[in-house]
């Protein structure tokens, strides 16, 4: 056998977990771009450094986002990845596919690109990994004809994403898929034409388990919840009692200790419940979210760059969410207008609120302060008052 030109990467073909190197080699058998990609990656493994140059603005007609420019810093060695741009393809909400749709995507990508993808990227998009500048428009044309569109990138609304929601989950308090799809279709312009100070992410989780990490990863987090009492099926509680230790595993782990179990009946003091989902997670057949369902809206979540990571903050404790979602969309637009007006370049919404104050933000978007917004009131005495609250000096 001839000596391999990728001895380091070959090591990652071994082992039980599916190997990305096998996929790269599979693509390399028929695609010169994939062949140079794996050879360049081998060089990175040897040099312990990436070999991609910084950015480069490329795109398709009419759009400012959806394509990430990428160029090799060693085109002398790897000419087929000299230009190797990413296309972000907006995924069907909930990442549901019929195979004929996936096959179309594969055929288009074999025709225009490297044959390598990420299913999926962190924003949720299907990532088509690497093509040349002159293929971008043709690839987009074929994608569009087949019913696909690009997702967001840069200072745009990023591709919204949602948990599996009512398609499969009994805990769904809102139709996360419909909300996400509706927002995606309503704001196509904001997704495709970057117009904001920086990126803006919206993620929709249908319950507080938050399967799309909306509270940590989105500037605007929509998380399903309910207002009334947890629904109990006493018969099913008894069935669970034979399988799990309800006192120890359910009642004792309840963060508000709002449950009592006497071996026969489970009593829930709903006024103390904070709807964390633990008891429902453990006994889905016996306990269900209440009937008065809606969402908590939170803002500001982000990763560390620039001023540190933030988890989203509650700004609307409860909002009913039913089509056409006018109240939600009006709020999103008020928030984005304020951010667009006041945000500095590369300043996320959470950082802007930190800089100007939650008080100023709430007033600007027309929301009343309520105790659900804070863990505790302030501990410092540096309190601002609005000018209209202060008595004017009498002359």
């Amino acid at each position: 056998m001839a000596n391999s030109d990728t001895p380091l990467l070959d090591e990652l073909e071994k082992g039980k977990w599916p190997s990305f190197v096998k996929d790269m080699k599979q693509a390399a058998q028929k695609n010169p771009m994939a062949r140079d990609l794996i050879r360049q990656l081998e060089l990175s493994y040897k040099d312990k450094i990436g070999h991609w140059k910084h950015g480069g603005i490329v795109g398709v007609r009419g759009y400012g986002s959806g394509v990430i420019g990428r160029y090799s810093d060693r085109p002398d060695l790897f000419p087929n990845v000299q230009a190797f741009h990413t296309m972000r393809v907006n995924h069907p909400t909930g990442w549901f596919y019929k195979t004929d749709t996936l096959r179309k995507l594969c055929d288009i990508w074999d025709k225009h690109g490297s044959g390598l993808t990420n299913m999926h990227g962190s924003t949720g998009d299907a990532i088509l990994l690497g093509t040349t500048t002159n293929h971008l428009q043709a690839c987009f044309d074929d994608l569009s004809s087949a019913g696909f569109d690009l997702g967001g990138s840069g200072s745009a609304l990023r591709t919204p994403s949602a948990c599996v929601g009512p398609a499969r989950c009994e805990w769904a308090c809102i139709d996360s898929l419909d909300i996400c799809y509706d927002i995606t279709m309503t704001y196509q312009d904001q997704i495709h034409r970057p117009m904001f100070p920086y990126k803006f992410k919206i993620k929709v989780s249908a319950c507080a388990n938050d399967c799309v990490s909306s509270i940590a990863r989105s500037d605007l987090s929509i998380i399903g919840t309910w207002k009334d009492d947890i629904q109990i099926n006493p018969q099913e509680v008894l069935t669970y009692a034979s399988r799990i230790n309800i006192q120890k595993e359910v009642c004792d782990l309840c963060p508000t200790r709002c449950m009592e179990w006497n071996g026969r009946d489970l009593k829930i003091y709903n006024e103390d419940c904070t709807r964390c989902m633990h008891c429902i997670n453990l006994m889905p057949k016996a306990l269900r979210p209440g009937k008065e369902k809606g969402a908590t809206i939170l803002v500001g979540g982000k990763a560390p760059i620039v001023k540190g990571a933030l988890l989203s903050w509650v700004i609307v404790p409860f909002m009913k969410l039913e089509p056409p979602y006018d109240e939600l969309k009006s709020l999103i637009e008020r928030i984005q207008d304020w951010w667009d007006e006041n945000g500095k370049s590369r300043e996320r919404l959470g950082e802007l609120i930190t800089r100007l104050g939650m008080r100023v933000f709430l007033k600007a978007v027309g929301l009343q302060a309520v105790p659900q917004m804070v863990k505790a009131p302030r501990t410092n005495p540096y309190v601002f008052f609005w000018p209209e609250d202060i008595k004017k000096e009498v002359k």
């Binding site: 380091l8 039980k16 977990w17 190997s19 990305f20 996929d23 790269m24 599979q26 693509a27 990609l37 990656l41 990175s44 493994y45 040099d47 312990k48 450094i49 990436g50 991609w52 950015g55 190797f84 907006n90 069907p92 909930g94 596919y97 019929k98 195979t99 004929d100 749709t101 993808t117 990420n118 299913m119 990227g121 962190s122 990994l129 044309d141 569009s144 569109d149 009512p166 398609a167 989950c169 009994e170 139709d175 799809y181 312009d189 507080a208 938050d210 990490s213 509270i215 963060p255 709807r275 964390c276 989902m277 453990l282 889905p284 057949k285 990763a303 560390p304 760059i305 540190g308 590369r346």
Partner: protein
């Protein structure tokens, strides 16, 4: 001219009939065994989801193979999860075992449900990113090989969510994971005075620094970096390409623990620093794999049922986390960024180990 702004394919056309019929009517679910979910509707109908692992970086031929399998067993219906897994969706119980057999024969791990370690959310790394401090797919593959059994079983106290981001930009948003693997730089960006005047906007470069470490260098029409203030976030490099920060000898990986996003029991939490630096050692990053495995094993031994890593640590205390894992505590663990003082101990209540 192609149509623009048509949006993604409508998800409603991608749903299998059993979901279309029972949309919003699901009553409960059970995990029949690792990787096999059964959802029962009010109508009594069942949906089975068979979850399989994926390397995330997949070829079109691999996707076609997934399609072949879905067509053979699931009438062509499948989905992907938020952790890069593949879920085969079917309503015929008799097809579950043949499907699992075929998946296993083709090398797909089946699992990732319940108290398991699901797939590692990760980023591009050296494969396709211009700012990475490490690779992504490589460390993930090496680690998943080692902790494979935790994917195909569900024997941990609670689920453990691992994520990897190859730099502080955190495309993988790892900052709220049970275990986060984060690529870091440790040296200041190298300012190329010959290029800065041509390719960078000086005021925005200066403004990009969260610690005010960058100032204008009028003489060279460039910028200068204060080495004492720079904490190597790389934000300036994103704004100004003439300030590369990658350093093969000093870039590497840090390990963070105890984050979560779910509200179940405890509120969502950030991950906290466990190990400030481990070297980049391709192709299999043995130091990283060993460190993560050690944390998982100590957690599995000591945590109570249903306790996530962060909940376990909050109960026993960070002193005990460090003594049990044997991870050395250093001055790097003590915060010195904004809000650092919130993490300093303000009581006399602590444990000796």
């Amino acid at each position: 001219m192609a149509k623009t702004d048509i949006g993604p394919p409508d998800y409603k056309t991608m749903l299998p009939p059993v979901i279309q019929k029972n949309y919003g009517k699901w009553l409960y679910h059970e995990i029949l065994k690792p990787g096999v979910l059964m959802h029962i509707s009010q109508s009594g109908e069942a949906l089975y989801s068979i979850r399989a692992g994926s390397p995330r970086l997949v070829s079109t031929d691999h996707i076609r193979e997934i399609c072949d399998i879905a067509e053979k067993y699931c009438d062509g219906f499948l989905r992907f999860t938020s952790r890069h897994n593949i879920e085969f969706l079917l309503d015929d119980k008799d097809r579950i075992e043949p499907l699992i057999d075929e998946l296993k024969n083709r090398g797909y791990p089946v699992g990732g449900t319940g108290h398991s370690i699901s797939n590692i959310v990760h980023t591009q790394g050296w494969v396709h990113c211009h700012t990475p401090a490490t690779d992504a797919s490589g460390p993930v593959k090496a680690l998943m090989d080692e902790i494979y059994d935790y994917f195909v079983t569900a024997t941990l106290p609670a689920h453990v969510r691992i994520a990897l981001a190859c730099c502080l930009n955190m495309c993988g948003a790892v900052h709220c994971s049970d275990i986060a693997i984060l690529g870091i730089h440790r040296t200041v960006p190298k300012v190329d005075n010959t290029r800065v005047p041509n390719v960078c906007e000086i005021p925005s470069t200066v403004a990009s620094c969260p610690t005010g470490a960058i100032r204008g260098d009028m003489k060279n029409k460039s910028v200068a970096v204060n080495e004492e203030k720079c904490m190597y976030c790389g934000n300036c490099y994103t704004v100004c390409p003439a300030m590369p920060i990658a350093d093969p000898d000093n870039d590497g990986i840090s390990i963070w623990v105890g984050g979560k996003v779910s509200n179940a029991r405890s509120v969502p939490m950030f991950s906290k620093l466990a190990i400030p630096f481990l070297p980049n050692n391709p192709p299999r990053w043995p130091e990283v794999v060993h460190a993560v495995k050690n944390i998982i094993e100590v957690y599995a031994t000591h945590a109570r049922k249903h306790e996530r890593i962060g909940e376990w640590i909050n109960r026993v205390g960070w002193e005990r986390f460090f003594s049990l894992t044997g991870i050395p505590f250093t001055d790097q663990h003590i915060d010195d960024f904004d809000l650092a003082t919130e993490t300093f101990r303000t009581s006399t209540q602590f444990k000796w180990r």
